[in-house]
């Protein structure tokens, strides 16, 4: 059996479940309370759980993310909502220099059981300070786990294991997915370790995550109409990468293309490509390709924004070039 819900409802349910299940869990961030959440993820929580556990913060990203780290060290299980990945840069010091490093520099004495959720990605004409995809930066940092739920199931299921993780977890929620609907099986299970095949194919492995996943799926459908069977790998966990699942898919298809909304230079896509080269170079029938964002701050005008981002057509074209 299954039921239908959207991404936002799935994440809201996950937070609700966590708040009910564990008195140590609380949500903090800008406008998570009275306002109901910038994207309404916490609508109704303020009335249900009260201002202590649904804690509105001032516009102090560095301060409240750091405070969440301290609260985690003090025995709580905070969920911090950061409005966008761009704003998270104001808190980057606390995430990288404190949360990620704390266990190591204390010689293993202190773990930081913290979950940070943030919106990422473009596609809503929000221009260059609300639209970037910086999850690849976070995936660079030892000491944190980085998740990118791109399905209803993952939006519903990734939070609980993230909260159970004794170390910091950063969850990237692509704004383009919030209204996406899907069926959630009653017997769903979700881990925060593995990449998953979202489509089985034989001719080319399309490796993607987050907001690019539906685009990869659309591209795969278009390719199927032309007789090309693409396999689609959803990375899901951006750090640590599930290298095994990636390699199994590429070894089967002998061709791979990485789709990543981050900018090309120094991207997560580059890391995935490097791993393919390191591990299964001789399985490849063609150079690995990638479709990334163009190297420009995200523009406002719709046609320019669309031209900046990976699109199904670009993916299809890249696959066709690869197949010759």
């Amino acid at each position: 059996m299954s039921r239908r819900l959207n991404y936002r409802e799935a994440m809201r349910e996950a937070m609700h479940e966590a708040l009910v299940a564990d008195p140590r869990v609380f949500l903090m961030g800008e406008d998570v309370g009275m306002y109901g959440g910038t994207y309404a993820f916490s609508k109704g929580f303020f009335a249900e759980f009260g201002p202590e556990r649904i804690r509105d913060t001032p516009l102090s990203e560095l301060g409240f993310v750091g405070a969440a780290i301290g609260a985690a060290l003090g025995g709580m299980r905070p969920i911090v909502e950061v409005m966008t990945v761009n704003f998270s840069l104001l808190a980057l010091d606390q995430i990288v220099n404190t949360a990620a490093a704390y266990r190591h520099m204390s010689g293993g004495q202190f773990s930081v059981p913290l979950v940070i959720r943030m919106t990422t990605g473009a596609g809503r004409q929000l221009a260059a300070q609300h639209s970037h995809s910086l999850e690849g930066w976070y995936a660079h940092i030892p000491g944190i786990r980085v998740l990118a739920p791109a399905t209803i199931e993952d939006a519903r299921g990734m939070l609980a294991p993230a909260l159970a993780d004794p170390d910091p977890v950063v969850i990237f929620e692509h704004a383009g997915l919030f209204n996406m609907e899907g069926d959630l099986a009653d017997d769903w299970t979700v881990d925060i370790r593995s990449a998953k095949l979202r489509r089985v194919g034989t001719d080319v492995a399309i490796i993607s995550h987050g907001g690019s996943l539906p685009k990869a799926m659309q591209a795969a459908e278009q390719l199927a109409a032309a007789g090309i069977e693409a396999e689609v790998v959803d990375l899901r966990v951006l750090r640590p990468l599930d290298t095994e699942t990636i390699m199994a898919s590429v070894a089967k298809c002998h061709r791979a293309i990485v789709v990543d909304e981050g900018w090309r230079t120094g991207s997560l896509a580059a890391e995935v490509m490097a791993r393919i080269m390191e591990n299964i170079f001789f399985e490849l029938d063609a150079p690995v390709a990638r479709v990334c964002s163009e190297e420009v701050p995200i523009p406002y005008a719709r046609h320019l924004e669309e031209a900046t981002l990976p699109q199904p057509e670009k993916i299809v074209a890249a696959v066709r070039r690869m197949l010759g």
């Binding site: 202590e52 560095l62 301060g63 405070a67 609260a71 010091d93 606390q94 520099m105 204390s106 004794p166």
Partner: protein
């Protein structure tokens, strides 16, 4: 360059029983001897990286920490050897940490700037200036949400006052009425930049009070002033009225770190401040009151030196963590308690 003239040396009666006074004096001497030895071991190449000595500022950590309870949380800076020692860390594990040995309090992963100890609730050793303040706010929040009767004392320097983290943290702590004691060790220089070259408002209590919290000032060279002021501040924080800010006006006798040629201050200024040295002025007051004899001072100094010798021996005998373990403690192991 501006002269920062020292006030008259601390004087006046010591309102404490002899035992307590000697315990605090002893702790100041222990820090002094440990720091002198650390500098020596740095010169010998045994300690590397950055080494920030607390010499001259001992009264602040000793006087303040003796006003706190073992259940309280301590957040400190990279100039934290003294805080760690007074908090109860074994001097050997501190020295071993500075040596980079596995027996160090952070297994050699942190070094001089990152002394941590879960048992005594010492939450670092934070070497991003201002980085410890949001952490202290969160520890205070956790205590409040769990109805724990513990306060969090957060030490930081005058340099941190210029950071955005200072503004955000004091605002949050006051807004949420959290049990946090902000302990500002104002030694007049953020590394080599004098306070008046970095702050438009050099009266740090005025600045802190603007966040709607009490702001107290102590003479950081006078352990009596430090301890009494901190006690008053602790009582207010523990009463649940929210955070309190204390400024300790102190002075660093040594360079900022071992790489500092001290071009930014006059030698005469340092010498003038040394006349206010917290150890000799406190000793003189105790002697004048008949609470300390020269023999007693020599005895506690000898004990401190013996402790230092034992700490060095412990560090020397320590072992190097095997390189095979390099990646441990990046993440918590599975099934860890």
């Amino acid at each position: 360059m501006t002269d920062h003239h020292a006030a008259a040396p601390p004087a006046g009666p010591v309102p404490w029983e002899k035992d307590f006074a000697l315990r605090l004096l002893g702790d100041m001497v222990r820090i002094r001897r440990m720091e002198e030895k650390s500098a020596e071991m740095y010169g010998a190449g045994k300690i590397r990286g950055f080494l920030h000595l607390y010499i001259g500022e001992e009264a602040t950590a000793v006087g303040a920490l003796h006003a706190l309870s073992p259940e309280d949380n301590i957040v400190a800076t990279y100039r934290e050897h003294g805080h760690a020692l007074v908090r109860g860390l074994d001097m050997g594990t501190i020295m071993a940490e500075m040596y980079g040995k596995r027996e160090g309090c952070a297994h050699g992963r942190g070094g001089s700037m990152h002394l941590f100890d879960k048992a005594t609730r010492l939450f670092g050793g934070n070497a991003i200036v201002g980085g410890g303040l949001p952490l202290a706010v969160g520890l205070g929040l956790a205590a409040k949400m769990q109805n724990e009767n513990r306060i969090t004392a957060c030490f930081f320097g005058d340099g941190a006052v210029a950071e955005g983290a200072f503004h955000e943290s004091l605002n949050l702590a006051a807004l949420w009425k959290l049990p946090v004691l902000f302990c500002c060790e104002n030694n007049l220089y953020g590394m080599g930049t004098a306070l008046e070259r970095s702050e438009s408002q050099t009266d740090l209590c005025v600045k802190a009070a603007s966040y709607n919290m009490p702001a107290l000032r102590a003479d950081g060279m006078d352990i009596v002033s430090v301890h009494e002021t901190t006690q008053e501040a602790v009582a207010r924080v523990r009463a649940g009225q929210g955070p309190v800010f204390v400024e300790y006006q102190t002075y660093r006798f040594r360079a900022h770190s071992m790489f500092d040629a001290e071009l930014y201050r006059q030698k005469a200024e340092v010498e003038e401040w040394k006349t206010r040295g917290p150890i000799h002025t406190f000793s003189a007051r105790l002697k004048a009151e008949g609470k300390l004899t020269e023999a007693e001072f020599l005895a506690l100094d000898a004990r401190a030196n013996a402790e230092v010798d034992a700490a060095v021996a412990f560090a020397e005998a320590g072992t190097w963590e095997p390189i095979e373990d390099l990646l441990s403690d990046v993440h918590t192991p599975e099934n860890a308690p």
